[in-house]
């Protein structure tokens, strides 16, 4: 074996120019690109939601054609899920996991860059459908057959391939994260010393490699039905449209947990820091995360209570779904117990994390309401569902991403963010979210169906309030961009451990974190934990 020392030269800074970003193998560069991409897609998807809220501001057809409205609801959902929230989580994982476990980089750095660069191409393919003949996908983000097969616009073919590319990206990213956490931990950093963010991402990665191929299978069968004359989702040939729903939700339900588990990890880092206490019930948190992930794989048909399942099926999926409340409850109580008698201070990350705790719990309760099969017959496909999952995704997943960005931004840039502006961002977002989504529960229970551009007059007032809240929330996010840019440009210098209550290896490196960290693994103390 020849020695090849020149390739293992001492760590150095980044190359300059645009090629630094395109060719990079550095987890921090790739994490940054993921986060910026996610922010851009957040505004693209957000702009679509503004169109939706503008149309729904008053009853009657006001601004857009119903056909275009359907494309907006579809792409808003797809872009927010696959373009904004998931890449934000992966970006945070890229940036923080190697720092948290004392690794020199991700396990497969080139593959990591590939996982990222697939995303912009998938996004281009997906958004370009809007400008194609026949319009973009208009069947809702769940793309139920036969709306997405027999009655779909021609652009659906591009939508299918965009989903394939997203799937490749997610699977490769998940494999990389698993290999990193299992294989690249600093010596003696045992699994039960890991921060929960690492644990939640490990478990999320397993969910990803278990269900993204199922999504790929679903869209492949759609492709065959559309172009090759098969009849998977057509009863005339012996198939079944309900088969599509089963396959889709076998992916779709764990997808919810793919989005929310990393959020749990973030909140489990932030709450102990600002409560100046250790996380209460660490091992219970790990087991709760694993239980939630397992249960998420066997509850998918609770999205399909009204398709005509056998009674035993309804009962099984109802009870299994309710079971998820147990490990989730363990988590909520553990976070609360962490705060109990803590010396709490409310900087921006803690504000977002506390709002997460309260509002996500609420989203869980509306989820429990939906899990009751007989009651579900009433509010299936109403705005109650829209209200429920937006509470999960916005003050749940999105708030935790905001919290994470404020929490670690000084570590990335070397400067403290503007605390006053951060708090303004929080309060406006908090008010905006509740004004937008809380009334949706009322109109939903009163019977307003989802995915419609027009509605009966009795829903007018609540919809107007929702729209005002939506615009407030949307405009507030421009402030978020401003705060980030301001922090990148300069400000108060951040020390290595700028949160006095924080624990973990990421606080042992200077702020901003050097281009290469932990080229040699750090020393791990036997009797110390790192979460």
């Amino acid at each position: 074996m020849e020695a090849n020392t020149h390739l293992q030269s001492e760590p150095h800074g980044p190359p300059s120019g645009i090629m630094r970003w395109i060719l990079t193998t550095n987890h921090k560069d790739i994490g940054t690109m993921y986060l910026i991409f996610s922010l851009i897609m957040f505004f693209v998807g957000g702009a679509m939601s503004m169109v939706i809220r503008a149309e729904l501001f008053q009853p009657g057809l006001q601004i857009v054609e119903p056909e275009f409205f359907n494309q907006m609801t579809t792409l808003h959902g797809l872009i927010m899920v696959f373009g904004a929230i998931m890449p934000a989580g992966v970006g945070l994982a890229n940036w923080m996991l190697p720092l948290m476990i004392g690794a020199p980089d991700m396990a497969m750095p080139r593959l990591n860059n590939w996982s990222f660069w697939l995303l912009p191409f998938a996004a281009i393919m997906l958004v370009s459908t809007l400008f194609m003949e026949g319009g973009g996908p208009n069947f809702g983000w769940t793309f139920y057959a036969p709306l997405s097969t027999t009655y779909a616009p021609p652009s659906t073919t591009y939508f299918i391939f965009a989903v394939h590319i997203l799937g490749i990206s997610s699977i490769m990213g998940a494999i990389n994260i698993i290999a990193t956490i299992l294989n690249l931990r600093a010596p003696n950093l045992t699994m039960m010393k890991l921060p929960l963010f690492a644990w939640t991402w490990l478990i999320t990665s397993y969910l990803l490699i278990a269900v993204m191929p199922v999504l790929a299978g679903a869209v492949t069968m759609m492709l065959f039905d559309i172009h090759f004359g098969t009849s998977f989702f057509n009863a005339a040939g012996g198939g079944d449209p309900v088969l599509f729903q089963h396959i889709f939700w076998f992916f779709g339900h764990p997808e919810v947990y793919i989005i929310i588990l990393p959020a749990f990890g973030i909140v489990s880092s932030i709450i102990p820091t600002f409560s100046r206490k250790r996380l209460f019930g660490y091992s219970a948190m790990v087991w709760a995360t694993a239980s939630i992930a397992f249960l998420s794989l066997i509850v998918w048909a609770h999205h399909m209570f009204t398709v005509g399942m056998p009674l035993t099926g309804e009962l099984f999926f109802m009870l299994a779904t309710m079971l998820i409340a147990v490990p989730t409850g363990v988590k909520v109580f553990n976070w609360t117990a962490t705060m109990f008698r803590g010396s709490i201070s409310f900087e921006t990350p803690m504000l977002f994390a506390s709002a997460f705790l309260v509002l996500f719990t609420m989203a869980g309760f509306s989820g429990l309401m939906l899990s009751i099969a007989p009651a579900n017959m009433q509010y299936h496909d109403t705005y109650f569902v829209v209200g429920h999952f937006h509470y999960v995704l916005v003050p749940g997943a999105l708030f935790s991403v905001f919290a994470a960005v404020y929490y670690w931004l000084p570590k990335w840039t070397g400067y403290m963010y503007d605390e006053i502006l951060g708090k303004v961002h929080f309060w406006l977002s908090f008010i905006g979210v509740n004004v937008t989504f809380f009334p949706m529960h009322f109109v939903g229970l009163a019977g307003m169906p989802r995915r419609i551009p027009d509605y009966a007059l009795q829903f007018a007032d609540f919809n107007a309030i929702s729209s005002v809240g939506g615009f407030l929330f949307g405009v507030t996010q421009l402030l978020f961009v401003f705060i980030i840019i301001k922090c990148v440009k300069g400000g108060k210098k951040a020390s290595a451990k700028y949160w006095d209550g924080a624990h973990g290896l990421e606080w042992s490196v200077p702020s901003p974190a050097p281009y290469h960290t932990f080229v040699r693994p750090p020393e791990i103390e036997e009797d110390k934990d790192y979460f």
Binding site: T157, F161, A179, L184, I247
Partner: protein
């Protein structure tokens, strides 16, 4: 290996590659490739003679082949330069293992669709488990498997007969099971660095793989020309071609992987204790073999 790791003898440095052009090329290649296919499919659907799609597809394919060659060549070169530690080896093990798991889940989806159709959908359409759907939709429909008469047999003309499992499929089963055995023999010889024997057994394995593919093509031709079993022949044809087709594609990929391994063995690559490239290819081959056994049982026999 002598490097600046001297101060810390316990650990080899984990190799973090320099910048690489392959990821961005791979992304562009996949984009062009899939956009090309989408254009071609959409043009075919409306009988348009638009051929921009072929340009995209061609460019994408060329880029993809170049990328695959270049990326793997880089990895092989780095590995043979001794840059990879034992820890890197474990990364590759984990990576390949979970990649194969994701493939298992893909086949799980297709098998799941087959079981769902056979156990729930067709009995319901035939009025066995539930009557109203049957009475309202196609009241003359009877359930049998393989399904030769579809509920709406004018839109989806069923096949005239089904594939005999004990003809070509049985031969194919023998080919694949044998190939797994010969590959394992090749692997044992690799451990003992018995070069000519590795080449011999690996060659036989690849030959068996291609024999399988040829039989598969013959079977498809027979199905289309003589049995009327096509993609349009309802759910039997749909599941049959989806499952066997995806499996065939995986056999092709696996055979190409083994072919690359054959060239690498001939070039003198792989040591008795350091040959994960070979091992990964053989994992993949065994996986493809196991999928076939499931196919043989659930698609052909039962």
């Amino acid at each position: 290996m002598k490097n600046m790791n001297d101060t810390n003898e316990e650990y080899d440095l984990y190799y973090v590659p320099e910048q690489s052009k392959w990821p961005i090329i791979a992304s562009i290649a996949i984009f062009l490739f899939l956009a090309g296919i989408a254009m071609i499919l959409n043009a075919l659907k409306i009988n348009s003679s638009l051929n921009t799609g072929y340009i995209f597809l061609g460019l994408g394919s060329i880029l993809m082949l170049w990328m695959l060659y270049g990326w793997f060549a880089d990895v092989v070169h780095e590995s043979r330069s001794g840059l990879y530690s034992g820890q890197m080896d474990r990364t590759f093990h984990w990576g390949m293992f979970w990649f194969i798991f994701s493939e298992v889940m893909l086949f799980f989806t297709f098998f799941g669709a087959l079981f769902y159709v056979r156990v729930l959908v067709l009995p319901e359409l035939a009025g066995i488990s539930e009557e109203s759907t049957h009475d309202l939709l196609w009241s003359k429909f009877n359930y049998q498997w393989p399904l030769l008469v579809n509920p709406d047999n004018t839109t989806f003309k069923g096949a005239s007969s089904f594939v005999n499992p004990f003809h070509l499929p049985l031969l194919n089963t023998i080919f694949l099971v044998l190939s797994s055995v010969t590959l394992t023999i090749a692997h044992h010889n690799l451990r003992e660095q018995n070069r000519s024997a590795i080449i011999k057994w690996l060659f036989i394995t690849i030959l068996l793989g291609f024999a399988f593919l040829i039989c598969q093509v013959m079977e498809y031709t027979e199905a289309y020309n003589e049995l009327g079993l096509t993609l349009n022949a309802g759910i039997y044809g749909s599941t049959f071609f989806l499952l066997t087709g995806f499996h065939g594609a995986h056999v092709t990929i696996g055979a190409i992987m083994l072919l690359v391994m054959l060239f690498r063995v001939k070039k003198g690559h792989f040591e008795s204790d350091n040959h994960f490239g070979f091992e990964a290819a053989s994992w993949y081959w065994h996986f493809v073999d196991v999928v076939w056994i499931c196919l043989f049982i659930f698609v052909y026999i039962l």
